[in-house]
Subunit: 428 residues, 2 copies
Amino acid sequence: MIVVQKYGGSSVADTDRIKRVAQRVAAARRGGHDVVVVVSAMGKTTDSLLRQASEISVIPPGRELDMLLTAGERISMALLAMAMHELGYTARSLTGSQAGIITDAVHGKARIIDVTPGRIRQGLDEGHVVIVAGFQGVSRDSKDVTTLGRGGSDTTAVALAAALDAGVCEIYTDVDGVYTADPRIVPGARKLARVSHEEMLELAAGGAKVLQVRSVEYARNHGVAVHVRSSFSYSEGTWVDNGDDMEQAMISGVAHDTGEGKLVIRGVPDKPGVAARVFTDLARANVNIDMIVQNVSSDGTTDISFTLPLADGPRAQLLLEALLPEIGAEEITFDTDVAKVSLIGAGMKTHPGVAATMFAALSDAGVNIEMISTSTIRISVVIRADAVAPAVQAVHDAFGLAEPDVAGVGGRVSGASGRGRRVTEAQA
Amino acid sequence: MIVVQKYGGSSVADTDRIKRVAQRVAAARRGGHDVVVVVSAMGKTTDSLLRQASEISVIPPGRELDMLLTAGERISMALLAMAMHELGYTARSLTGSQAGIITDAVHGKARIIDVTPGRIRQGLDEGHVVIVAGFQGVSRDSKDVTTLGRGGSDTTAVALAAALDAGVCEIYTDVDGVYTADPRIVPGARKLARVSHEEMLELAAGGAKVLQVRSVEYARNHGVAVHVRSSFSYSEGTWVDNGDDMEQAMISGVAHDTGEGKLVIRGVPDKPGVAARVFTDLARANVNIDMIVQNVSSDGTTDISFTLPLADGPRAQLLLEALLPEIGAEEITFDTDVAKVSLIGAGMKTHPGVAATMFAALSDAGVNIEMISTSTIRISVVIRADAVAPAVQAVHDAFGLAEPDVAGVGGRVSGASGRGRRVTEAQA
């Protein structure tokens, strides 16, 4: 069986940790498996390279920034290969390009369009551990080095697992699985044994940092079973798979995200084409929009509100202010002091009253709701940032998520959150 | 005209220096030239990567060490490309592989066997400054990343200049040219305006660190004109070319090298095959031999002495001690306290008495000669390490090298020396 293992930056932060990763890879090899290892850059390497780039250029050309950043995984994968040799295993490190990760040419956030793992298969056939640089690929047409965006190593691992028809894709991280809520906020949060791709997608989009959204999408589209587990212990983590044979728990968990801001365009004339114009321009500027809410008012104007990553806020604001006269709106406000709390559960679509229960719990906790957005398996609300802890705790309690699966109201969801960049595309 | 410029590690040691290099490249571009820039890794990057490797493995596998080290130029070339963009010039950075530097598969000291600069030409045709990672290539058969050995960026630059039929290959360094002797030892040393490939080869082999021996060999074999100059000034440096139209100065300069040790095998039975056996074994162990001296004695035994890089000494000693019983020799000694002083000049082959003058000068200065080795355009002696300064000064004075070209006894030679690794193959 082929096993794909992915180790993130904190797992390979220094040479001692790299040696520990080598021990773990060796254990899988001794277990009789063919092992493909995907590694990120060591610890803060990427940040350090970005700092150097910023000393030279405010907006460095994407092609060259990708060339620069890909030095990071090159270092970690070569060192891991050396550590494997020290343990008596032969290993071959491969760049994204050598491993056959073919992408489009969008530097900085390239998408994988093909995987041609000939050299990986050859390495496995020759008995080597194959170590692949995560996060990077090569563009099909220009043959330039590309990167998949931050956290792209998860996607590399899932894509290789799919292309190699691997038995499992293990994502090693610094938490031991996916939780019903962030344990730092909800002490009673429970680790989930399994969660479906769909739910994991909503959890990741809702702010759970344990897996990158695109990697979950890729896993869902290609039916890849992902095992999220800790690189510091050998205990089972959380399985993310297609969920066919799972009892559908009504609710899997509560995710939250404080990495977004809320932008409001006030006094927009209620006529066709305005929203289209606004969001087309934002998309062209590569601003990632999350929740969008619009209510038509009685006086013929309306407010359009949406959430977006904090980092994209100033850019979006500038762009829209230039657009104000043309669309005839009154003003733009950007509120950075918000948080999003999401309740996720594949079972909620067949259970009425879930939204009502959630809103009542928030109300009882004194939390004011500013925006609401729903999908078939998710309810998200935007609230004040300082209310996030009581809100998550209240919702977690209301659905009894701390209890092991009881009467169809089982527990599920997500791990670490906090201020940070999200990678979700628009989902409103 | 195509100009190839090479900048070493000290020229790109930090982002400020990279910006200064960009200014200089821009000046060449404004001069109407197509510019190909070859860069080394920033300052101490290579040493830092080697240190990390040593934390993991005593003898890391060559393939992986090359993968690791090539991260260094990747960083410097991408940053330089960004700096060019900041100045309003478009630039494309290319790895050794992308630039078409095809090598054999000897990791750590690969030799260039072909150059296929299609992507460089394309980049130039599109109006870009093309920036190439020095020191690295890709093996023809296995398509693995290789390195050319320390200082290999000089060779990359010369090889590209040859393949592109460039007008000049400019090697930028921290000294402003090639001197008649190391100016730190001989205050009156004179910068040479021109020196022939042959003389430069002997100077480099004799310890002048300003150019790597292999790059000079490559330049000689392919007729590439090299301009060695300072990255900190715009003044002319030293031209290294085929020397056809030069007046042949009798002596071009004095080089010295304190980076070697002397190994003596005493009491070797004087019978056929012993030397062959010794040097075959040393070659297999990748020990670089420099001067070899053997005198047959009257009692049927002989001493074999040779010099070699200090770093290779312990390995050679171990290897030869194991061989002692078989070859019937008495003992091995390794003397690290020696220096080599070489007098180089294309004109000396037609002038008798040069050796006599040199030996007399050393004798007058109280310097004892331990070994002598000569070629048609070079005389080298091995002396005590602490005698190197008076020895170089005495020889420099004896041939009047401080005076600008007088009566056929013109001046020429070499720059920086000091303890360090040499790359010469056996030349005895």
